[in-house]
């Protein structure tokens, strides 16, 4: 624990547990369904699994990618976690830390991005390809892109999968008999990607410190620029009224309602101390954003009031991953230097 006098002001002290996991926290995901376990995918190739109900006990250690690194982690379709690694493997990690290989789509290439939907479909991006698998691990199809995929996600219904790449993004129907993508074009290199909860907008983060968005109804472009650094993390609020983003010295929130974000200025939360926001996660019900910063600070901010609640103090490495559980009672975060915390925010 740090020696700062205000430690007790941070929720981690009063309502949380923390661990030094010893390796870069690449991704955090909470199990779907009733299990409620939280997985931390690490740069040493392991996935650590914590249970909020027994958070003080030892966190299980799953050797997901031996000798390698976990590059992407998400909640699997039906409980457990899905992890992609630089060993070319796509594995499932169960809540008890059992590891099961779903596929090894590559030998000397990496599984860089993974996504899953509760309907049972899973996606793994390897180079230019996105491989889709069903709930049993059977390969469904491989979607080809013009260049390496920078990010992949499903829409809220799991009907479409979106992949970002050089010069735009591609939108595919998972169940289509004939695979033909809708290509959303915009010059430049696109990485992190999100689809709005109502499925009407796609937004990507670009190499050039800007976001680009497409309104799917009419293909209208949205340029969201002005960031001093690259946006790595972006997330829509539960009902899709706002898009929260990292990359500035505040949490930049774009309005996706009332005609926005076109012609509207973004709202900035929790800014002012000159440290870049590195990770964001939106509460699953309320318009509250959790944000992590390059100095290790983690906080919550309510969009309507701008009110800020500190969660974890600076000093333990830049925040690299952040995630709410499905019911919004717990928040987990991790840093580049391997510090991880889990905070209980439920009413007491």
């Amino acid at each position: 624990m740090s020696e700062t006098a205000q430690d007790s002001d941070f929720l981690l002290e009063s309502r949380g547990v923390s661990r030094d996991l010893g390796a870069w926290v690449v991704g955090i995901a909470w199990e779907r369904g009733g299990g409620g376990a939280c997985g931390f995918g690490l740069g040493d190739g392991t996935v650590r699994v914590a249970r909020p109900a027994a958070a003080g006990e030892e966190w299980a250690n799953a050797p997901a990618h031996e000798g390698g690194a976990c590059l992407s982690l998400c909640a699997d379709a039906r409980g457990g976690f899905l992890s992609g690694g630089d060993d070319g493997r796509l594995v499932r990690v169960a809540a008890d830390a059992a590891v099961e290989e779903i596929a090894r789509p590559a030998r000397t290439r990496w599984v860089e991005h993974v996504a899953a939907h509760e309907s049972g479909v899973r996606a793994a991006a390897v180079g230019k390809a996105v491989h889709l698998y069903d709930a049993n691990g059977a390969a469904l199809k491989t979607l080809a892109h013009p260049s390496a995929v920078g990010g992949v996600c499903f829409d809220a219904k799991g009907k479409r999968v979106a992949a970002s790449h050089y010069n735009g993004a591609s939108l595919w129907f998972v169940g289509a008999k004939e695979d033909k993508s809708r290509v959303l074009e915009w010059k430049g290199s696109h990485a992190a990607i999100a689809v709005s909860p109502d499925g009407t907008h796609v937004v990507t983060a670009m190499q050039e410190n800007a976001l680009h968005g497409w309104r799917l109804a009419d293909g209208q472009h949205m340029r969201m620029s002005g960031y001093p650094s690259k946006t790595r993390s972006l997330a829509f609020t539960a009902r899709g009224r706002w898009l929260a983003t990292s990359g500035a010295d505040s949490v930049v929130i774009w309005p996706f309602h009332g005609g926005g974000p076109m012609g509207k200025a973004p709202t900035e939360l929790a800014g002012g101390d000159g440290v870049f926001c590195t990770a964001v996660s939106c509460h699953p019900q309320h318009e509250v954003v959790a944000a992590g910063f390059a100095d290790g600070l983690v906080l919550l901010s309510e969009i309507a009031s701008g009110k800020v609640v500190p969660v974890a103090p600076p000093g333990r490495g830049g925040v690299s991953a952040l995630a709410w559980n499905g019911s919004g009672t717990h928040l987990a975060f991790g840093t580049e230097t391997g510090f991880a915390g889990m905070v209980d925010l439920s009413r007491r």
Binding site: L71, S147, K187
Partner: protein, 328 residues
Amino acid sequence: MPDTTPIPVTVLTGYLGAGKTTLLNRILSENHGKKFAVVINEFGELGVDNDLVVDADEEVFEMNNGCICCTVRGDLIRIIGGLMKRKGDLDGIIIETTGLADPAPVAQTFFVDEDVKARTRLDAIVTVVDAKNLPARLADSREAEEQIAFADIVLLNKMDLVSPDEAAEVERRIRAINPQVEIRRSTKSDVPLEAVLGRDAFNLARILEREPEFLSGDDDHEHDSEIQSLSFEAPRPIDPEKFNAWISGLLAQKGQDLLRTKGILHYRGEDRRFAFQAVHMMADGDFVGEWRDGDPRRSKIVFIGRDLNRPQLRRGFEACQVEDTAAA
């Protein structure tokens, strides 16, 4: 705690069959106790089974800033980002480019991407050339010439196949393109690994540390290659404002033809040396410590590029000097 010192990155270029793969295999198989990640292109044929060999497609991306020579390797941005997440166990990264690759996008990636810049440092561009076939390659390939122009170190390989006269002529050709380059002769890429790794050649503090062995100071030498190198000296101190205005205009206008630019400058009233380097339009500069006692405080700039106008560049550089009477 994971280490935060930047990881050195060595870029290995060279025409097909020059001996890049032989060198890579030696680096990976020799018992040096170090751990390297090697990024190869998909046509590579590495004989060593290593956990840390990463296949990459050379994806050259244009930056969306309206400047067409501003290209980066998108795959490297992703791969370096991934490698940084491993537990701090890497001693270095080696990037092999395909034989036909232009080295500029690789080098520019280290100037452009903030994450790459923060976590790694470009150590050196090493170009492996085939002593026997280089003259033919220079005649028929723009890339072979560019690879030499960009190099910090040229490995003049297959020395067993050439006569001493042929070797001298090949070296002369290399120096005509890049007079500062360090040339190491080898057979089967057999140089000590310290000769190619850990060289710190992109460190601003070491810019122009090597005196050109063949100063192309005279206009009368023959131009047998399209790429040439010009160097200029200025005896009087440089006015930083004039220099900035001149060099930014020059790089913006002529950056496509300027492959590498390096300078050591004596700024007016400043006891520290200012070092400057650029790859095409991307520039970087900083103070790098004081002038050594007894060393003449003279500013020097070297251009390697195509279609360079010597009188114009000389006049431009000389005009950045402070007025005669105002010498510091």
